[in-house]
Symmetry: C2
Subunit: 409 residues, 2 copies
Amino acid sequence: MEHHDIRMRGFATRHDVDEALTILAPRITPLPSEVIPLDEGLDRVLAEDIVAGLDVPHFDRSAVDGYGVRARDTFGASDYNPIPLTLKGEILPGRALDLTLGANEAVRIMTGAPLPAGADAVVMAEYAEEDKEHVNILQPISPFKNVGRVGEDIRRGDVVLARGRRLRPQDLGVLASIQVAHIAVYRRPTVALIITGNELVQVGQPLTGCQIVDSNSLTLAGLSRRLGAVPVYKGIIGDDYHVIKDTIQKTTEDVVIITGGTSVGAEDFAPLIIQELGELVVHGVAMRPSSPVGFGFIQRQPIFLIPGNPVSALVAFDAFVGPTLQRLQGLQPAYPYAKVRGILTRKIASAIGRVDFVRVRRTAAGVEPLRVTGASILSSTTRADGFVIVDKNSEGLDEGQEVEVYVYS
Amino acid sequence: MEHHDIRMRGFATRHDVDEALTILAPRITPLPSEVIPLDEGLDRVLAEDIVAGLDVPHFDRSAVDGYGVRARDTFGASDYNPIPLTLKGEILPGRALDLTLGANEAVRIMTGAPLPAGADAVVMAEYAEEDKEHVNILQPISPFKNVGRVGEDIRRGDVVLARGRRLRPQDLGVLASIQVAHIAVYRRPTVALIITGNELVQVGQPLTGCQIVDSNSLTLAGLSRRLGAVPVYKGIIGDDYHVIKDTIQKTTEDVVIITGGTSVGAEDFAPLIIQELGELVVHGVAMRPSSPVGFGFIQRQPIFLIPGNPVSALVAFDAFVGPTLQRLQGLQPAYPYAKVRGILTRKIASAIGRVDFVRVRRTAAGVEPLRVTGASILSSTTRADGFVIVDKNSEGLDEGQEVEVYVYS
């Protein structure tokens, strides 16, 4: 390496977190959709409204085990005045009986079986007694009692699930029930992971004196997968302007993440390369950790400058890459963590104008900020149960204050 | 089919939900472990404690961009009394300098680079000025300032992550940082899905008058996948004793789910078959929906009787199969849903002795129980935002009462 100017070149402008997100959001639009079989649809995001093409059920069905009757034939029935109806047969689920029920007739019928023509109610088995060719009805019943009517679950023409729905297990069941065997969903975003740093080696490779193992590719791949994206590992690249530029130019993925060398220090080529190849939109954000984070676009491809510091990498991903991967799939951005409330056991100092992401533990005593010496302590993210966000308008949070914790899981 | 006795044979004993879970829990033990590459470890469960085999960092490193010095050489420095140190070179991350710092010497050093022998602190670039062969130090610094010391992140011998940990993205990063390239995790459980019912057709197949589309296989497969299990679809089986028995006997999966035909009605063969082949442990649980749920064991293989009713199937899975799949992977059972609190907008009636699972919507007004006419209404599970559990000791919940909602996601 040649002699470097060790002084910071300085960030041209440092954005607020909110500003940066506001700049980012309108430039990210959903990816094209693709059609997939329903049984691959879990956690995918619908790219179309699904309109029911049939009623569910599409026939009147019995909701109980009992006797299909004409309700009016049972009026006046009681234990003292059983009304005998002539048994005309038995109907099981999936097996229609070619029969129209006449006056004072009944059929034996099982839960889920189609009501025969003429019948309009089902007497539960416990309110009837069979006697050879007859069944004695012991209670009157009103029309449509114990009948699941056509369309009671889903009506033909209903929008059953709307575009933008991330499909839950039961959603797949509902789609099956209306014969939707294929669905249009937003394509999963691919994410190029470019890891830079002369000091890095891949996990499992021999480690010499001053090298460290790359951990960011593992963390960032996991975070991407959690959000439904497909990480594509591009390897560890040395701090070499030409190699980094070449690697970036060859990416075809929907999103690029480049970590390390993203600040404004001596070997931080990535911001310069983005400026040359496209547009560096944000570089430097008023947040802690991860203030050197940035992003730009090469044509329409978003590229994120993620600090090599492992805690910063996690925070930067959650703050900026995550919402992007969600928008690309047609989702509203949201942290993929459950939120719980709790009482701070110790104050958190911050500064007005800066958003702090503070790792915390949840203990019997409350929400305890971790005592850590820096953003380089990756193990703090595994000891932490989650994090608290200190707003830019706050100088900090007081001991005893109620806070919202985003819980890692 | 032959003539059936339509009367319920009746459940021998009906268990409490808690009783049933207490019977189930000790019979489910974690599956054997398997060794996988770290980058396939996301969301898998560690089957071993991971002990760090090296310190992180494994050398003293600079935490800032600046000048590596012997702290004592800087004592007395100020803007008015700059102390000149002789510059001996530059250290970049990953590139050790074969050099021992002597008295009144300094090196230029970048964040993450190894401190040279002799140096014990790093002066930040803004508190120093270079002047040809020297650097003038403008502030005194104390020993170990701006130095990340050996083991400050992770100490060799520490248990970094414990057995039973479901691996988060950052956990993978931490494991990489200590050179753990392969991990022992509990095997994913396989789940045989046996769907019974003469009335059922597979999604996308032609539907005749009295048939319905099987939705449960989609829902149950999705629920299984969400918990890290591998569903194995065994097809739709008619209500035929011999075929059902044969299908059950041929399963080699870790868990069997059989849906439909699980009550005590006419065609409900599955409970009888389990009694013949193994042990029917629980059949009938005091809950709503899904009271006909049950389970047994054929040798050590758990087999679940899941009602064919789609809402019941969802509830029965969440209550009994889910905890089983979690235990098989070495996890403590927990509903896989975020919990939030809210105020009921309308009362919920229940009965003492029975646990009710009530689907609710979350609206601006609060937590609104869905008005549904039965457990056969699958679409209620997609309209619902989650569910509320009414305890067996409760007659119901009052309007205005605060409740806990398990949120579908």
